[in-house]
Symmetry: C2
Subunit: 502 residues, 2 copies
């Protein structure tokens, strides 16, 4: 099939277009290769530069941005081809992606075995699936539930196609939050509590994707988090744990790709959620995992039946990978802590660790409950005694001391920044605070500048059920620039029902 | 939600990028609107220019091709916004597309009613679904078969969201080929036969999308086909039928959008195929429809069980729309006629219409069978007498005379062009022709220049089962330029097993 005619060679040009993980190539409609290969927009084409290859989706361009002899590459295509600026790339019809026929088998009603998932996930990680292909795959997995065997096969395939961390210890503690609730920043509290008591907890976290702050963003206001694998190992060896950004290791890279499409479709299926969570944790080397599962109308998990099904699925698949799992449910109807935004959430964390009288009790209680579950699972505390042990470790200052040592080991502790521009929002009338719109509160924090401006965000002064007089404080908007502040305030003015006062 | 801050206004620029029906907007990552709205690649955004709006998929650009205050638009976004060159477009987060929650209902196992399909299809036609959304929709419809009621609902929604032709006659004949077989150009023979016998058959056809020729491409080598609705009506009023390009009318526009994604996924589901075929035909005003269904290993329909299921589905849904349907199966293992490419297929058509001794018998027989079915269904011939009547109409020259009058009414008959460069391919060894690879034969014809060069393509000299000596003629490759010819020949050299001689 591969005929190396001169017309198949075009000059590579980086267009710097972010198409996520999907490689895209832009060609002039009148370019010789489109003509001779009979290429049309949305065709999949094979790009080759030297010994590097990538399958890309083609968009045809009328004229203007490209010369006829140029091939414009998206960021993903450019990286996979090794940045061939000015060099020639060969362009052909893409060879068929064999695993797509396996995907179609699942659409047509057949279960797939582990080998099939291995082929599909390997092709997805290699960038051989278009966004349209991945959408069909995640839909096929949601439209007919994955069997237990399929979830195990998918999980293993996701583990196998990424990096894998190995630790020289029988118990490796880990924690995962099912998400959906702003400000739920328990990790920087749980890690020092359990490591102060001798557990090993090498925690890697993500930066914000759609929220005002990820754990890595919050932690970055207190210590360096951008550690490579060697540095992570050194910190864990010294202190028993770390709170680092996960970017240096590629744990279950398929997960990020699948989640990108699932989020676009707003599609959650139990099987994929289990494979997503557990593949990352097994790849990280975890043996004991506590899962924080907020339940509520706007949370990811909405009712007790969903909690039960998801918990059972997690435990039965975890068993297959030697991973002990404990699921802790909690209130998913309002933010945890007071801050939304990296530095504001860090202040909550520090208040809890330092045992300040004004520390947010909900964040403290949640972190203690999660720590207790880990301590009991790992045999560091008898059943029922975990909470007392965790509480004592926090109250004694041992956790705070450990946190400072971890920060020092990661490169040095620092003070979270403080915002330069603030505005208090107050209750427009008296009444009871009956509902908070978490989604719009998060958006307000982002408009104020979070997470790019680490000091920006929202500081909440109320909780559900509070009785308010007209003019009582609701929240303070923090920003780094007057423009951001006024923009956020305009949004708040137009959306006063974020706080429902009845 | 819609705050009209100056930073939401960017200067529109047409990038001329063909992203099919999906509107796409390109913005600089550092543009004020991305920053303040918290926009990320793959987000869906609402673009507004004056009173026109479009929902587009966002790709972020590092720098280079766009200025920070520019919004680059794909061709589809540009057209829907009314080509606002240099004018300002407002950019906001897209409002939620409500019908996506209906689509998710189907993914999660619920049937949808007609109202739901109406909302989904209307949003798809309005460009509110991304390619990823449409992929999920077609996958959801394939992963759990559509019920009869759902197929009817989907069909009606597809009819309602496009143009609809109405004819002042009780019987309107139409024909559809399920496709997959090159050269199956029966329409220009069936239309003159049945209209010579008094039936009304206002036939609109498509141009090639992935094949070396569509019926409209073939017909265009003999007469003008680019007729507007008025012209189509005038031709049909005068001659009882036409063979025109369907581009002037938007019959079931959702169909083209869905097919684009189904083709990318190589996904066929019975329900969607039925809705696809019947929505176009009901919208065209048909009352009696003959369906040509080639059956074979590389055809769309592969075995008798599939024929039976699809035929029953077509008839039962057709009943709901007052459409009588007759399905005619035939050999789907090799091309029909000798030519592949617009002019070469036209020569086959003309040979049959003129009753030439060397006319391809398979094309002639197929056209007669389809005509006979239409004549019997419409009551123009008693059951069993249709074939004799059709044959007589062809042999007497009445069909040929009618064809010439139709061409004259469409703007004047012309001679198909003749290629300037040819090359005969011969058998490399003796043996029996046991298999033809239709897909690669079609590709060879396209590499030779079809359908853009109407004279280009392949002329077959053999049929399955032929006994060949070494050096016997297999096919002639026709091209308009030496470059195209040599490129096609290089492909033929590398793919000699297109003709399997055993």
């Amino acid at each position: 099939m591969a005929l190396d005619q001169p017309r198949n060679l075009l000059r590579a040009r980086d267009l710097g277009i972010d198409t996520h993980s999907e490689p895209v190539v832009f060609l002039r409609k009148d370019s010789p290769v489109c003509r001779s290969e009979g290429l049309a927009s949305h065709n999949r084409v094979l790009l080759s530069a030297g010994d590097r290859h990538v399958i890309a989706t083609l968009y045809q361009v009328q004229d203007g941005i490209l010369a006829a002899e140029e091939a414009g590459l998206s960021a993903a295509a450019w990286q996979r081809l090794g940045a061939p600026q000015g060099n020639m790339v060969r362009i052909h019809h893409a060879p068929p992606v064999e695993s797509l026929s396996l995907m179609r088998r699942r659409i047509y009603g057949h279960d797939l075995d582990e080998t099939a998932y291995q082929e599909i996930i390997a092709d997805i990680v290699q960038g051989r699936y278009s966004a349209v292909d991945i959408s069909a795959f995640v839909t096929a997995c949601a439209a007919r539930p994955l069997s237990h065997a399929e979830v195990c096969g998918l999980t293993r395939a996701m583990i196998n196609t990424g990096d894998r961390l190995r630790w020289d210890a029988p118990v490796i503690a880990d924690k995962h939050s099912v998400g959906g609730i702003p400000g739920n920043r328990t990790t920087p509290i749980v890690v020092p509590i359990v490591t102060a008591l001798g557990l090993i907890m090498p925690k890697t976290s993500s930066r914000a994707i759609t929220s005002p702050a990820g754990t890595a963003d919050t932690m970055a206001t207190m210590a360096p988090v951008d550690l490579d694998q060697e540095q992570i190992r050194a910190v864990v060896e010294k202190e028993g744990g770390c709170i680092a950004w996960g970017g240096a290791v590629q744990l279950s890279p398929a997960d990020d790709i699948l989640i990108g499409i699932e989020r676009a479709l707003d599609l959650d299926s139990e099987g994929q959620m289990i494979a997503s969570i557990l593949s990352k944790k097994v790849a990280a080397g975890a043996t004991h995992l506590v899962i924080d599962m907020p339940v509520g109308a706007t949370a990811k998990v909405r009712d007790p039946a969903a909690v039960k099904a998801l918990s059972q699925g997690l435990r039965s698949v975890g068993d297959q990978f030697g991973l002990q799992i404990c699921v802790i449910t909690g209130d998913g109807n309002q933010p945890v802590g007071r801050g939304m935004g990296p530095a504001l959430e860090a202040r909550d964390v520090l208040a809890v660790l330092k045992g300040q009288a004004d520390a947010p009790a909900d964040l403290r209680d949640r972190a203690l409950t999660l720590s207790a579950a880990l301590l009991e699972m790992a045999g560091r505390a008898p059943k029922g005694a975990g909470l007392a042990l965790a509480t004592q470790t926090l109250q004694s200052g041992a956790a705070w001391a450990k946190f400072q040592r971890i920060c020092a080991a990661q490169g040095g502790m620092r003070e979270p920044p403080v915002s330069s521009h603030r505005k208090l929002l107050t209750a427009p009338h008296a009444g009871k605070l009956s509902r908070l719109d978490n989604r719009r509160l998060a958006r307000l924090a982002k408009l104020a500048g979070a997470p790019d401006d680490p000091a920006a965000g929202i500081e909440m002064h109320v909780r559900l059920g509070d009785k308010l007089a007209k003019g009582d404080a609701l929240c303070t908007v923090h920003a780094q620039a007057p423009g951001e502040l006024s923009y956020a305030l305009a949004y708040a003015d137009a959306n006063t029902d974020m706080f429902r006062i009845t």
